[in-house]
Amino acid sequence: MTVSSATVSPSSPYAILSVRQLMWRRFRRNRLAVGGVWILLGLYLVSAFAGFVAPYGVRTTHDQFALAPPHGLHFRDADGRFTLRPFVYGLESSVDRSTFRKIFTRVPEETYSVRFLGRGVEYKLWGLIETNRHLFTVEDPGVIFLLGTDRQGRDLFSRILYGSQVSLTVGLLGVLLALVLGTVIGIVAGYFGGLLDSVIQRVIEVLLSFPQIPLWLALATLVPPTWSSIRVYFGLSLVLSIVNWGGLARQVRGMVYALREEDFIRAARYTNCSLARIVLRHLLPNTLSHVLVVATLAIPQMILGETALSFLGLGIRPPMTSWGLLLSEAQHVRVVLQQTWLLIPSAFVILTIICFNFMGDGLRDAADPFSQ
């Protein structure tokens, strides 16, 4: 007795958008998310060319300039004349006679102009191209420490750039590993069900209810101290992912469990489709977009995890560096109070985390294109 209406006629003038197009449209409208993506792209680009952008190498030390505060670029000289080419003042270190502390004073007579694309410390771009060109250097014997130096007189700005190569990628690698682990375990649990499923579910529950940081700490101590820094790097991303695959696996399991009873999966089963084909052709593509959203939201957690572990001395080890390792210099309260600039790497951590959070939130909203 109810009013019936037919299906859409083929001549319908209304554009039909695919789910992916709808997602993209929604994501683009989220200004915070798009802004986050642009900033992240910038960070990754600079990180890829760290050797070029950094005026000094990761291990270049300046013994006489240990713990020098940041000193900036100047466009106006002592007489107030404007110069297009920025310059830095010379630095002189001396000991304060009353406090016996090392202090740095600017030498107004000495000015060194900044040279662009000049030659400096040798480095290998991507481990391949050997060069000594830098985006900017300063005339000898002048020094340029945009963000100050650490206890061994190493330029913090350069070290932050080199550190970004670790900090920005270890999270991605960790998420990638967690993605593989989570997807495989999730599909197995969801597709086969039964006792295996219940056991996996319990394990995931325990993992998810457990505070990550103590668990990370416990696992990080297992990385042997004899390992090379590159192996530590991979070991660390493995540690990060071992604790974090639970959320992804749960997501995948839920979706596979629901999909298993869908007609198209049944049809595939009844037509003697191989298991591999069902999983690869039918299950994976259908869970992909949600899994990617969850993965994106996990990246900032992993970055924070790396920072925390390296900060506590259980993560990245020298000669490699990362933002967390740089911050570990600021671990002693006295240091922080006197050399506040050593906290600058945290600004980069925060910026990255917030951008990833914005992007993840944008993706999450966009993944549900029919909401609102």
Binding site: R202, F210, P211, L217, A308, L314, A330, V336, L343, I354
Partner: protein, 327 residues
């Protein structure tokens, strides 16, 4: 209700078991066993002859038995409250943990109460004033709070406090009060030190509670029974508080365990940076020195704490929600 609690208690058993297994595995993972480390320790103290007794020691500690047997022995001792001895400190783990437990609880509980007490009202405001200037401001602040690692916030507060007062407010007491007995002055001194770690940790916690509350309340305020309550002439204030907030609290209560997780997480690094006498500092030192019984025990206790917290949250939820209570 009684049946519900009983059923819920039963589901606790496999979870608790898994946590102890996890703890045991982590304690077993480092290369070498207790005897190896014991011998190293004794040798460092000049007891050179100890190496000859290696096999005997293994038998004495039961380390010659297969892992499953050792696990049952260890679990039995654990259940009786015998957590073994700390190698680094040469004292029972139980004593070491006992010394720190009260302060850890006090600090964590303060942080918990404050973050819920501030987060919920802010979340309600945000949801009832969606897209207003205040809501937008809170949203941005929450994003900052969630993006900032707690230990950094603590460091920033420390620098600020130093700039203002000239005091370095690490630890929980100034040096003159550390060993003094409790007095009003000591209590005041505690408060002076306590605000930095508590504020640092609750900034993240408050932001989280606020966002969850905002989302929940927005969902609830869009539900049919809210429109139905408005349609029968219930004043908006009552609609929001009696029907909206009451229902929006449920998901938050069920996430109580989650709150404990970030409290533990947050205080781990903050404690280390600020040198607080909490269990987390002991834990870090234990993991760094591979003091497995101490580290493992704390890890398991943390896991159990979260599980018990989640259990209590479920009971509370059942008490709040008739759909669970009468099912």
């Amino acid at each position: 209700m009684g049946a519900y609690i009983l059923r819920r208690l039963l589901t606790l058993v496999p979870t608790v078991f898994l946590i102890t297994v996890l703890g045991f595995i982590i304690m077993e993972l480092p290369p070498g066993d207790y005897v190896d480390r014991y011998i190293l320790q004794q040798q460092a103290q000049g007891n050179t002859g100890i190496a000859d007794q290696e096999a005997m020691l293994r038998v004495r500690f039961g380390l010659d038995k297969p892992a499953a047997v050792r696990f049952t022995h260890w679990l039995g001792a654990f259940a009786r409250g015998d957590f073994g001895d700390s190698l680094a400190q040469n004292r029972p783990v139980r004593t070491i943990i006992g010394e720190r437990l009260l302060l850890t609880f006090v600090v964590s509980f303060c942080a918990f109460l404050l973050s819920w007490g501030i987060g919920i009202p802010l979340g309600i405001y945000s949801a009832t004033h969606q897209y207003s200037k205040g809501d937008n401001f809170l949203t941005v602040t929450a994003f900052l709070g969630l993006g900032l690692p707690d230990f950094l916030i603590a460091l920033i507060f420390l620098v600020l406090a130093w700039r203002v007062s000239g005091d370095v407010l690490t630890g929980l007491f100034s040096s003159e009060f550390t060993t003094a007995s409790w007095s009003w002055a000591k209590f005041q001194d505690l408060l002076r030190h306590l605000w930095i770690p508590v504020l640092a940790v609750i900034l993240t916690g408050t932001a989280w509670v606020m966002r969850v509350m905002r989302g929940n309340l927005l969902d609830v305020l869009n539900s049919n029974y809210i429109q139905a309550a408005r349609a029968r002439g219930v004043p908006e204030r009552v609609v929001v508080w009696k029907h909206g907030v009451r229902n929006a609290l449920h998901p938050l209560v069920s996430a109580l365990g989650q709150t404990l997780v970030w409290l533990v997480n947050g205080f781990t690094i903050t404690s280390i940076v600020l040198d607080l006498p909490t269990i987390q500092t002991v834990y870090l030192n234990a993991t760094l020195s591979q003091d497995i019984f101490l580290g493992g025990t704390i890890l398991i206790l943390i896991g159990l704490l979260v599980v018990i917290g989640t259990f209590l949250a479920d009971i509370l939820l059942a008490w709040l929600d008739p759909r669970i209570r009468f099912s």
